[in-house]
Protein backbone atom coordinates (compact mmCIF):
# COMPACT_ATOMS: atom_id res chain seq x y z
CA UNK A 1 0.00 0.00 0.00
CA UNK A 2 2.72 2.38 0.99
CA UNK A 3 4.62 1.62 -2.19
CA UNK A 4 1.55 2.32 -4.25
CA UNK A 5 1.10 5.71 -2.64
CA UNK A 6 4.75 6.50 -3.23
CA UNK A 7 4.51 5.50 -6.86
CA UNK A 8 1.36 7.53 -7.31
CA UNK A 9 2.88 10.57 -5.69
CA UNK A 10 5.98 10.26 -7.85
CA UNK A 11 3.81 10.15 -10.96
CA UNK A 12 1.94 13.21 -9.74
CA UNK A 13 5.25 14.98 -9.09
CA UNK A 14 6.48 14.19 -12.57
CA UNK A 15 3.25 15.36 -14.13
CA UNK A 16 3.35 18.67 -12.27
CA UNK A 17 6.98 19.23 -13.18
CA UNK A 18 6.23 18.56 -16.84
CA UNK A 19 3.29 20.94 -16.67
CA UNK A 20 5.37 23.62 -15.02
CA UNK A 21 8.04 23.29 -17.67
CA UNK A 22 5.49 23.51 -20.44
CA UNK A 23 4.16 26.81 -19.12
CA UNK A 24 7.59 28.33 -18.46
CA UNK A 25 9.52 27.13 -21.49
CA UNK A 26 7.98 27.89 -24.84
CA UNK A 27 8.99 25.38 -27.48
CA UNK A 28 11.60 27.12 -29.68
CA UNK A 29 10.96 27.43 -33.40
CA UNK A 30 13.75 26.64 -35.82
CA UNK A 31 14.92 29.63 -37.87
CA UNK A 32 17.77 30.47 -40.21
CA UNK A 33 20.76 32.16 -38.67
CA UNK A 34 24.20 32.87 -39.99
CA UNK A 35 26.54 31.00 -37.68
CA UNK A 36 30.27 30.57 -38.06
CA UNK A 37 32.13 28.54 -35.47
CA UNK A 38 35.75 27.59 -35.96
CA UNK A 39 38.06 25.73 -33.60
CA UNK A 40 41.76 26.52 -33.32
CA UNK A 41 43.98 25.16 -30.58
CA UNK A 42 41.07 24.29 -28.34
CA UNK A 43 39.37 27.66 -28.58
CA UNK A 44 36.22 28.01 -30.64
CA UNK A 45 35.55 31.44 -32.11
CA UNK A 46 31.94 31.94 -33.00
CA UNK A 47 30.12 34.62 -34.95
CA UNK A 48 26.36 34.70 -34.99
CA UNK A 49 24.20 36.95 -37.10
CA UNK A 50 20.47 36.97 -36.41
CA UNK A 51 17.94 38.49 -38.78
CA UNK A 52 15.83 40.68 -36.56
CA UNK A 53 14.58 44.23 -36.96
CA UNK A 54 15.13 45.09 -33.28
CA UNK A 55 12.44 47.78 -33.05
CA UNK A 56 12.96 49.97 -30.00
CA UNK A 57 10.01 51.56 -28.24
CA UNK A 58 10.74 54.93 -29.91
CA UNK A 59 11.09 53.50 -33.41
CA UNK A 60 7.99 51.38 -32.98
CA UNK A 61 5.97 54.43 -31.90
CA UNK A 62 7.04 56.38 -34.98
CA UNK A 63 6.24 53.53 -37.32
CA UNK A 64 3.01 52.65 -35.55
CA UNK A 65 4.21 49.11 -34.89
CA UNK A 66 4.81 47.14 -31.75
CA UNK A 67 8.24 47.17 -30.18
CA UNK A 68 10.02 43.88 -30.64
CA UNK A 69 13.59 43.07 -29.79
CA UNK A 70 15.78 40.24 -28.63
CA UNK A 71 15.98 39.97 -24.86
CA UNK A 72 18.16 36.93 -24.39
CA UNK A 73 20.71 34.97 -26.43
CA UNK A 74 22.12 31.65 -25.29
CA UNK A 75 24.59 29.32 -26.95
CA UNK A 76 24.93 25.72 -25.83
CA UNK A 77 27.18 22.84 -26.80
CA UNK A 78 25.63 19.62 -25.65
CA UNK A 79 24.05 20.65 -22.36
CA UNK A 80 26.80 23.11 -21.47
CA UNK A 81 26.09 26.82 -21.69
CA UNK A 82 28.96 28.57 -23.50
CA UNK A 83 27.46 32.01 -24.04
CA UNK A 84 24.68 33.76 -22.22
CA UNK A 85 23.60 37.35 -22.72
CA UNK A 86 20.61 39.36 -21.57
CA UNK A 87 20.21 42.15 -24.09
CA UNK A 88 18.25 45.35 -24.48
CA UNK A 89 16.67 47.19 -27.40
CA UNK A 90 19.96 48.91 -28.23
CA UNK A 91 21.56 46.09 -30.13
CA UNK A 92 21.80 46.98 -33.80
CA UNK A 93 19.32 45.82 -36.41
CA UNK A 94 20.23 42.27 -37.45
CA UNK A 95 22.57 41.97 -34.47
CA UNK A 96 25.95 40.35 -34.83
CA UNK A 97 27.60 38.84 -31.78
CA UNK A 98 31.02 37.31 -31.47
CA UNK A 99 32.35 35.21 -28.63
CA UNK A 100 34.78 32.44 -27.89
CA UNK A 101 34.93 29.42 -25.63
CA UNK A 102 36.85 26.20 -25.06
CA UNK A 103 35.52 23.48 -27.32
CA UNK A 104 36.35 21.03 -30.06
CA UNK A 105 35.71 20.27 -33.70
CA UNK A 106 32.62 18.35 -34.71
CA UNK A 107 30.46 19.37 -31.77
CA UNK A 108 27.14 20.99 -32.46
CA UNK A 109 26.53 24.52 -31.27
CA UNK A 110 22.96 25.59 -30.65
CA UNK A 111 21.96 29.25 -30.53
CA UNK A 112 18.66 30.16 -28.92
CA UNK A 113 17.21 33.62 -28.67
CA UNK A 114 14.14 34.99 -26.92
CA UNK A 115 12.01 37.90 -28.09
CA UNK A 116 10.29 40.52 -25.98
CA UNK A 117 7.05 38.55 -25.66
CA UNK A 118 8.82 35.29 -24.88
CA UNK A 119 8.82 33.53 -28.24
CA UNK A 120 11.95 31.45 -28.68
CA UNK A 121 13.90 30.63 -31.84
CA UNK A 122 16.90 28.41 -32.39
CA UNK A 123 19.45 27.25 -34.94
CA UNK A 124 22.27 24.71 -34.85
CA UNK A 125 25.63 24.43 -36.58
CA UNK A 126 28.58 22.08 -36.51
CA UNK A 127 31.84 23.49 -35.20
CA UNK A 128 34.49 23.46 -37.93
Amino acid sequence: MKKLILALSSIALMATSVLAEATVNVVPTKVKMKIKAKEKEGIVKAKVSISHNMLTYDQAKKKGKEANFITHITATVGDKVVYDASTSQFLSKNPLVKFQFAGKKGDKIKITYTQLKGEMFFATKKIK
Binding site: S10, F90, P95
Partner: protein, 145 residues
Protein backbone atom coordinates in the same frame (compact mmCIF):
# COMPACT_ATOMS: atom_id res chain seq x y z
CA UNK B 1 14.10 7.03 0.78
CA UNK B 2 12.49 7.07 -2.60
CA UNK B 3 11.05 10.48 -1.96
CA UNK B 4 14.37 11.92 -0.95
CA UNK B 5 15.92 10.64 -4.17
CA UNK B 6 13.05 12.15 -6.09
CA UNK B 7 13.47 15.51 -4.45
CA UNK B 8 17.20 15.38 -5.11
CA UNK B 9 16.51 14.75 -8.77
CA UNK B 10 14.07 17.65 -8.80
CA UNK B 11 16.65 19.97 -7.24
CA UNK B 12 19.27 18.87 -9.76
CA UNK B 13 16.89 19.55 -12.63
CA UNK B 14 16.16 23.00 -11.24
CA UNK B 15 19.81 23.97 -10.93
CA UNK B 16 20.45 22.91 -14.51
CA UNK B 17 17.70 25.13 -15.85
CA UNK B 18 18.92 28.01 -13.69
CA UNK B 19 22.47 27.94 -15.04
CA UNK B 20 21.51 30.47 -17.70
CA UNK B 21 20.54 33.62 -15.87
CA UNK B 22 17.98 35.89 -17.44
CA UNK B 23 18.81 39.30 -16.06
CA UNK B 24 15.66 40.72 -17.60
CA UNK B 25 13.51 38.56 -15.37
CA UNK B 26 15.73 38.83 -12.29
CA UNK B 27 16.69 42.50 -12.31
CA UNK B 28 13.91 44.27 -14.22
CA UNK B 29 14.87 47.71 -12.86
CA UNK B 30 18.20 47.60 -14.69
CA UNK B 31 16.54 47.80 -18.08
CA UNK B 32 14.33 50.79 -17.31
CA UNK B 33 17.00 52.91 -15.58
CA UNK B 34 17.77 56.12 -17.44
CA UNK B 35 21.35 56.71 -16.36
CA UNK B 36 24.33 54.47 -15.86
CA UNK B 37 24.75 54.76 -12.09
CA UNK B 38 21.10 53.89 -11.44
CA UNK B 39 21.38 50.92 -13.78
CA UNK B 40 24.52 49.67 -12.04
CA UNK B 41 22.87 50.00 -8.64
CA UNK B 42 19.83 48.11 -9.89
CA UNK B 43 21.99 45.33 -11.31
CA UNK B 44 24.75 44.87 -8.74
CA UNK B 45 23.63 46.82 -5.69
CA UNK B 46 25.69 49.55 -4.09
CA UNK B 47 29.15 49.03 -5.55
CA UNK B 48 32.03 51.30 -6.40
CA UNK B 49 33.82 49.94 -9.44
CA UNK B 50 37.50 50.69 -9.81
CA UNK B 51 39.29 51.37 -13.06
CA UNK B 52 40.48 47.98 -14.26
CA UNK B 53 42.39 46.25 -17.00
CA UNK B 54 39.57 45.93 -19.48
CA UNK B 55 40.06 46.28 -23.21
CA UNK B 56 37.03 48.09 -24.54
CA UNK B 57 37.16 48.75 -28.25
CA UNK B 58 34.97 50.99 -30.38
CA UNK B 59 35.57 53.26 -33.35
CA UNK B 60 36.44 56.85 -32.42
CA UNK B 61 33.99 58.17 -34.96
CA UNK B 62 31.11 55.91 -35.82
CA UNK B 63 29.65 56.72 -39.23
CA UNK B 64 26.48 54.79 -38.64
CA UNK B 65 24.91 55.02 -35.19
CA UNK B 66 22.62 52.13 -36.03
CA UNK B 67 25.40 49.57 -35.90
CA UNK B 68 28.50 50.42 -33.90
CA UNK B 69 30.84 47.49 -33.49
CA UNK B 70 32.19 47.30 -29.97
CA UNK B 71 34.20 44.63 -28.23
CA UNK B 72 35.10 43.99 -24.63
CA UNK B 73 37.91 41.74 -23.50
CA UNK B 74 39.45 41.16 -20.11
CA UNK B 75 41.86 38.77 -18.46
CA UNK B 76 40.27 39.34 -15.06
CA UNK B 77 38.53 36.11 -13.96
CA UNK B 78 34.99 37.38 -14.41
CA UNK B 79 31.52 36.26 -13.45
CA UNK B 80 29.52 38.77 -15.44
CA UNK B 81 30.18 41.61 -17.85
CA UNK B 82 27.71 44.45 -18.37
CA UNK B 83 27.68 47.15 -21.03
CA UNK B 84 25.98 50.53 -20.63
CA UNK B 85 25.84 53.77 -22.60
CA UNK B 86 24.59 57.22 -21.69
CA UNK B 87 22.71 58.70 -24.65
CA UNK B 88 19.83 56.36 -25.38
CA UNK B 89 16.57 56.58 -23.40
CA UNK B 90 17.65 53.65 -21.22
CA UNK B 91 21.21 52.94 -20.15
CA UNK B 92 21.60 49.16 -20.24
CA UNK B 93 22.71 47.45 -23.45
CA UNK B 94 23.68 43.91 -22.50
CA UNK B 95 24.65 41.73 -19.56
CA UNK B 96 26.80 38.68 -20.31
CA UNK B 97 27.31 35.72 -18.05
CA UNK B 98 30.85 34.42 -18.46
CA UNK B 99 30.65 30.63 -18.68
CA UNK B 100 32.85 28.52 -16.47
CA UNK B 101 36.24 27.79 -17.99
CA UNK B 102 36.38 30.47 -20.65
CA UNK B 103 37.59 34.03 -20.63
CA UNK B 104 35.49 37.10 -21.24
CA UNK B 105 35.78 38.22 -24.83
CA UNK B 106 32.62 39.47 -26.44
CA UNK B 107 31.85 41.61 -29.45
CA UNK B 108 28.55 42.96 -30.63
CA UNK B 109 26.95 45.77 -32.59
CA UNK B 110 24.93 48.41 -30.81
CA UNK B 111 22.76 51.43 -31.56
CA UNK B 112 23.45 54.91 -30.26
CA UNK B 113 21.33 58.01 -30.65
CA UNK B 114 24.18 60.54 -30.63
CA UNK B 115 27.77 61.00 -29.45
CA UNK B 116 28.33 59.72 -25.96
CA UNK B 117 30.19 57.17 -23.96
CA UNK B 118 30.11 53.45 -23.32
CA UNK B 119 30.85 51.93 -19.93
CA UNK B 120 31.79 48.32 -19.34
CA UNK B 121 31.51 46.82 -15.86
CA UNK B 122 33.20 43.54 -15.00
CA UNK B 123 32.14 41.61 -11.94
CA UNK B 124 35.21 39.67 -10.91
CA UNK B 125 35.18 36.26 -9.22
CA UNK B 126 36.95 37.97 -6.32
CA UNK B 127 33.81 40.01 -5.68
CA UNK B 128 35.35 43.25 -6.89
CA UNK B 129 34.00 45.40 -9.66
CA UNK B 130 36.03 46.91 -12.47
CA UNK B 131 35.00 49.52 -14.97
CA UNK B 132 36.18 51.10 -18.17
CA UNK B 133 34.73 54.08 -19.96
CA UNK B 134 35.14 55.06 -23.58
CA UNK B 135 33.68 58.06 -25.35
CA UNK B 136 33.00 58.14 -29.04
CA UNK B 137 31.46 60.36 -31.66
CA UNK B 138 28.47 59.29 -33.66
CA UNK B 139 28.05 60.95 -37.04
CA UNK B 140 24.52 59.74 -37.73
CA UNK B 141 22.19 58.79 -34.91
CA UNK B 142 20.84 55.27 -34.99
CA UNK B 143 17.75 55.33 -32.83
CA UNK B 144 15.34 57.22 -35.06
CA UNK B 145 14.90 54.37 -37.48
Amino acid sequence: MKKSILSLVAVAAMTVSLSATDYRAEKPDTWTAHDISTAITALYGNVTPVEGDIKLKAPKVASNGGAIPISVKTDIPAKTVAIFQDVNPEAAVAVFTVPEGSNAHFALKIKMKKSGSITAIVEGKDGKFYSKKLSLEVALGGCEG
